[in-house]
Each structure stands twice: as structure tokens, then as C-alpha cells.
């Protein structure tokens, strides 16, 4: 005979539901008792921050979509109507537009944290790969969102980026025609981009749920990169990490609010307040800042197909990262040589970003080329070789030992 599962909740209704559909047990397990390594630092809050940014983007985007018209003759004016006449429409739009940038800031910090502490290594390979897929879908969503206001940068950015696919032999041109829905960026392009821009955030949401599910199988990594061995090494997620992450979220929101209310157009481009005009090309077509390093890689290669392959390859490469890094030690804390190369990679990313914003000529082209070479060199040569050559520092026996020793040393200093 079928039997309801035993549940332990005090509220009889919750108990009744839970014994038939144990979602409360699941939530209790995953978000109340989930053991977090007690030594995680504030860099671990950026996963939660990115998740909250996704929710903010979906919520503001929903209300913007109610007022927006995805027709080339109406799109620009409907956005201005939102800015001028819709109640708090200016707030919704500025939160959404700056929210995209903040989402990328959170995700970039989250990714570099993973790189520094080796969070991609076994057994977290699938967790990491899901993260790279989330990053890719995010880039697609952000790109299509930037097209919607139908300003000059929207139109010309869309033209440049969709044209990239034409570099591929044989399939290239049909793909571009399919993306455009015609023979140039036009009304069908805008319509399908709007539909996809509405759909993809929910795909992202599903991917984030998978990402979290994969995380909760093997547990969170921590600054020492060693596994938690028991309850003495962990704290329950609630209330310890909810409060800590909560504080980090509020601090992040302060920075976010500063952009929204006091410099809402700083991260955008003035040309996007000029309606799209297929007959006038802007002097410099630049993508949003979060694409600039990849844009620099694209332009660094003198061949169109080569550039496109290098650009997509620079992200696809990240999926192979768990196998490119041959070191068994996760955290950079115990890898004195790799730690220096990590920082060089971070600087390389910034330099590439700066070069991406500059005209691709003269010194900037050279800098972009050196930066591109170094990016691939880091992942394809340095990482595999370094893992074999480097002698890591001795690892502590357990998290609690390292934490308590640290605390002990501190109290000794005070005394």
C-alpha cells in the first residue's frame, strides 16, 4: 500500500503537503542545514549576489516589457515614453540597464574567485561547466537586451556581432540570415531578439537551479581548498551564511544604487540616445564594457574567421579548465608560483578590456595581440605545466585546525 512519507513540521498543513511533496524538507535541508565551510570569506557572497541580480533583472524586465514596443518604428520612442510618462518608468529602466552591468560585475568576481581558489577542480567539474554555460547565456541575453532600445549603438552593435557568424564557411551566411530574419538587421531581427531576450532569463533561472543543485552535492569550496571533514569544520547555512551574505548583498546594493541614482548613463554610450539610423555609422562601434576583453581578442586576430574562433574559444576554453589545471591543490594560498600568474591573468583581462575600448590600430592593436597571446598561453601552456613543476606549500590537516590556530595567534597578539 502506498504510504505518505513521514514529516516533522509543526504546522499541520505544511506537514500534510510535505508528506506528499517534500519540498519543505528539501528547502530545510538545502537552505537551513546545508553545511558551509566556516572559513569562507566575503568573496563567497557573490554567488548569492549574482542570483539576486538575476531576480531583479527578471522583475524589472517584466514591467518594462509591458510598456515596450518591439517594432523598429516604435522601439526608441516607447523606451522614451517609459522614461518620461510611465510611473517610475525611469527607475525601472535605469535599474534594468545598470543591473546588467552589476550582474556582470558580480559574475566576474564570482568567476575569478573560482579561479583563485580552484573551485573548478574535482569533484566540482560539472558545477564549473554549468557556470560557464550560464556566463554564455548571460552574454547572449545582455547583447540582445542592448539591441532593444534601438539606438545607434543597438543597431550597429547588432550588425557587427551578428555579422561575426558569417565568418564560418558554408553555414555562416544561412546562420546570419536566420538571425536577422532577412538580409539586414531590421524589424524581424528586433522582434526575435525581444522574444529571445524575454525567454533566455528563464533558461538562466533553470541553469542557476542546476548550478545550485550541483553545488549542494559536493558542498562549497573554501579559501583553504581542502574538504570539510565534519561538523567542526562547518556552520549551518541559516542563520550564519544568510546573515553574512545578506550584509554583502546590502553593500553591493549601495554601489548599485549609486550608479542608478547618480550616474545612470555612465556605463552606457551617448550614441544610444540617438535613434538607430542604418545610413549613418558611428565613428567607433563599441560593445558594452563587459564584452570589451572578448572584443579585443576578436580584433587582435588579423583574420575574420580566426578572430571569431579565438573569441568563442576564449570562453569555450574555460569548460576544459578542470582538466587543463593539472595541480591537485585547489587554493592559490598553497601555490606560490601559480598565485602570481593568477594576478597576471587578472591584469591581462583588464588590459584586454581597455584595449577593446580603443580603436584597433597602432599600439593598442599590439597590446591587444600580446594580451590575447598571454590569455591562451596561461590556460593552454602555463596551467598544465605548472601543475607538474610547482611544489605546493603544506596543506593544513583540517579547516577547524587552521581557523582555530589563526584565532589563537590573534589572541596571542592582543595579549
Amino acid at each position: 500500500m502506498a504510504q505518505a512519507q513521514a514529516s516533522k513540521f509543526k504546522n499541520p498543513l505544511v506537514n500534510w503537503i510535505d508528506s506528499r511533496l517534500p519540498i519543505f524538507t528539501m528547502l530545510d535541508h538545502e537552505y537551513n542545514h546545508y553545511p558551509m565551510p566556516r572559513n569562507v570569506n566575503y568573496l563567497w557572497a557573490f554567488g548569492a549576489i549574482a542570483g539576486i541580480m538575476l531576480v531583479i533583472m527578471i522583475a524589472t524586465g517584466l514591467f518594462l516589457a509591458m510598456q515596450y514596443s518591439s517594432h523598429t518604428s516604435l522601439a526608441f520612442d516607447s523606451v522614451e515614453r517609459i522614461m518620461r510618462d510611465v510611473n517610475y518608468g525611469w527607475l525601472l529602466r535605469y535599474v534594468h540597464a545598470n543591473g546588467a552591468s552589476m550582474f556582470f560585475i558580480a559574475v566576474y568576481i564570482h568567476m575569478f574567485r573560482g579561479l583563485y581558489y580552484g573551485s573548478y577542480k574535482a569533484p566540482r567539474e560539472i558545477l564549473w561547466i554549468l557556470g560557464v554555460i550560464i556566463f554564455l547565456v548571460m552574454m547572449g541575453t545582455a547583447f540582445m537586451g542592448y539591441v532593444l532600445p534601438w539606438g545607434q549603438m543597438s543597431f550597429w552593435g547588432a550588425t557587427v556581432i551578428t555579422n561575426l557568424f558569417s565568418a564560418f564557411p558554408i553555414v555562416g551566411d544561412p546562420i546570419v540570415t536566420l538571425l536577422w530574419g532577412g538580409f539586414s538587421v531590421d524589424n524581424p531581427t528586433l522582434n526575435r531578439f525581444f522574444a529571445l531576450h524575454f525567454l533566455l532569463p528563464f533558461v538562466l533561472l533553470g541553469l542557476v537551479i542546476l548550478h545550485t543543485a550541483a553545488l549542494h552535492v559536493c558542498g562549497s569550496n573554501n579559501p583553504l581548498g581542502i574538504d570539510a571533514k565534519g561538523p567542526q569544520d562547518t556552520v549551518p547555512f541559516n542563520p550564519y551564511v544568510t546573515l553574512k551574505d545578506g550584509f554583502a548583498v546590502v553593500m553591493f546594493l549601495i554601489v548599485f544604487a549609486f550608479f542608478v541614482f547618480f550616474m545612470p548613463n555612465y556605463l552606457g554610450h551617448p550614441d544610444n540616445y540617438i535613434p538607430a539610423n542604418p545610413l549613418v555609422t558611428p565613428a567607433h562601434i563599441v560593445p558594452e564594457w563587459y564584452f570589451l576583453p572578448f572584443y579585443a581578442i576578436l580584433r587582435a586576430i588579423p583574420d575574420k574567421l580566426g578572430g571569431v574562433i579565438a573569441m568563442f574559444g576564449s570562453i569555450a576554453l574555460l569548460m576544459a579548465l578542470p582538466w587543463l589545471d593539472t595541480s591537485k591543490v585547489r587554493s592559490c594560498k598553497f601555490r606560490p608560483i601559480y598565485r602570481q600568474f593568477f594576478w597576471i591573468l587578472a591584469i591581462d583581462g583588464l588590459v584586454l578590456g581597455y584595449a577593446g575600448a580603443m580603436p584597433a590600430e597602432g599600439a593598442w592593436l599590439l597590446i591587444a595581440r600580446v594580451g590575447t597571446f598571454y590569455y591562451f598561453f596561461h590556460f593552454l601552456v602555463l596551467l598544465p605545466v605548472l601543475g607538474k613543476l610547482e611544489r605546493p606549500l603544506p596543506l593544513p590537516n583540517s579547516i577547524s585546525e587552521a581557523v582555530l590556530k589563526g584565532a589563537h595567534a590573534k589572541s596571542m597578539e592582543k595579549a
Binding site: 518620461r84 550564519y240 546573515l243 545578506g246 544604487a257 602570481q340 580603443m358
Partner: protein, 253 residues
């Protein structure tokens, strides 16, 4: 660590040098101090009203402001009856009437400012082939914003020796490429201000730049005022969160 420091230094140096080279190519815009700048800045309504007078008497002969309803001016202190009277001074197309014909009617505050030309071709035909840009968003659509507008409006001068102006073009030291179809339109006392302010070119440029900043962003003041409240609230919340977190984590041994 040495290798790291060298890398950081050389990267910073490379960026700094290249940045300086980049800056020297661009035209330097003189920075103005605006009452609406900063976290607590608000639009100077008197200046914006004078700026509107210039728009109405000078700019609007060639430039449209097609995204801006006349009622927007309530934001710089126009009263309801003033708006109605102002709107009635413009004619817009209405209809069709019962006979199926379009007709001209006086505007109401909900109408947008009528454009001086019917379409782009008409505007170009009347302006030596140049298209006077729409002014609804001009303060947000130019690098430098209101500083650029002010510099542009005061930046007309004789073309330096060796510069060959194309027929009908004018020299402006801040306009990209320097050759612009628009003539030096602001003249000393070119308008007579209703509030008695002396209408120097500098004053007019400031006033019209203030006005264009307002029409590009009619909710400018509300945005900044809300921002101050939001950030104050978040700071208090952050303090509470941090104190609770400290207290909770201190119970861990």
C-alpha cells in the same frame, strides 16, 4: 612577488601612457559648474525657464523636440494656466473630422512640441543639406553632455588659417570635425529675458544647456532625491546587518 610587481607597474605604465596619448587627441571641453551636478544638485528652474525662452525664440526655428510633451514644463515651474496659454500658441494637426478631413487646431499641454519641418527631407532642403538634430535627448546623446552643449554654443570662431570651410559651413572649435552647418546663433542681447537677466552669450548658453538637460531627463530631481533616501536607508540596514552578523558569529568558538 617581484615578478608580479613588475607586471603591475608595466601594465599601469602602458595604460597611463596610452591614455595620455588618447586624451591629447580629443578636444578638451571646459568643465562648467552646474547647480544640478552632484548628489544633491537640482535643476535651476529660473535658468531652465530662460533656456526655454531661447529654445522657443531661437532654436525651435530649425530644431524639433518631438519626444517632449508641452506639459513637461510643469517640472520647471510653469503653472496649469500658463501651460494652457503656451500650448494654445502652437498649432497641431487634428482630425479626421466628420467629413473625413484633417484640420489644424490649437495645441493642448498634452501635445508634444510641434516640429519645424514635416520630415527629414524638408529639414535638409531648408538647411543647405544639413539636418538639425532633434533636441529632446541632446544632453544625453553627446559625449560631455551639458558641458559639450555649452562649449559648442560658445565655440564658434573664425576658421584658423589653412582650414578650408565648405560653402555654407561654419567653424566651431568643439564640434567633431569643426565644420558645422549651424551658424553662430546666440548673439549678445539676441533675446530679451522676461526676468530681466542680462542676455550675454555666456548666460544664454548656460540657460539653454540647463533647459536641454531638463528636457532630456525630466525626472532628474526626483531621481537624485530618491537616491539620497535609498542610500541612507541601505547604509542603516547595512549597519544593522553587520552588527547582527558580528554578534551571531562571535558565538562560534
Amino acid at each position: 612577488m617581484r615578478a608580479l610587481k613588475t607586471a603591475i607597474l608595466s601594465a599601469a605604465l602602458a595604460l597611463g601612457l596610452a591614455g595620455a596619448a588618447q586624451a591629447s587627441e580629443a578636444v578638451h571641453l571646459p568643465k562648467q559648474s552646474w547647480p544640478h551636478a552632484g548628489m544633491f544638485g537640482t535643476i535651476d528652474k529660473a535658468a531652465a525657464q530662460r533656456g526655454f525662452q531661447i529654445y522657443k525664440e531661437v532654436c525651435s526655428a530649425c530644431h524639433s523636440m518631438r519626444l517632449v510633451p508641452i506639459r513637461t514644463l510643469a517640472g520647471i515651474g510653469f503653472k496649469d494656466d500658463e501651460l494652457k496659454a503656451l500650448a494654445a500658441g502652437y498649432e497641431v494637426q487634428g482630425g479626421p473630422n466628420d467629413a473625413g478631413e484633417m484640420f489644424m487646431r490649437p495645441a493642448i499641454p498634452a501635445d508634444r512640441f510641434p516640429s519645424p519641418f514635416a520630415n527629414e527631407q524638408a529639414a535638409r532642403a531648408a538647411n543647405n543639406g544639413a539636418l538639425p538634430p532633434d533636441l529632446s535627448l541632446i544632453a544625453k546623446a553627446r559625449v560631455g553632455g551639458e558641458d559639450y552643449l555649452h562649449a559648442f554654443l560658445t565655440g564658434f570662431e573664425e576658421a584658423p588659417a589653412g582650414v578650408n570651410l565648405m560653402p555654407g559651413m561654419n567653424y566651431n572649435k568643439y564640434f567633431p570635425g569643426h565644420q558645422v552647418g549651424m551658424p553662430n546663433i546666440l548673439q549678445p542681447d539676441g533675446v530679451t529675458y522676461a526676468d530681466g537677466t542680462k542676455a550675454t552669450v555666456e548666460q544664454q548658453a548656460r540657460d539653454v544647456s540647463t533647459f536641454l538637460t531638463f528636457v532630456a531627463e525630466p525626472h532628474h530631481d526626483a531621481r537624485k532625491q530618491m537616491g539620497v533616501k535609498v542610500i541612507l536607508f541601505l547604509l542603516v540596514l547595512a549597519g544593522l546587518m553587520y552588527a547582527s552578523k558580528r554578534k551571531l558569529w562571535s558565538t562560534l568558538h
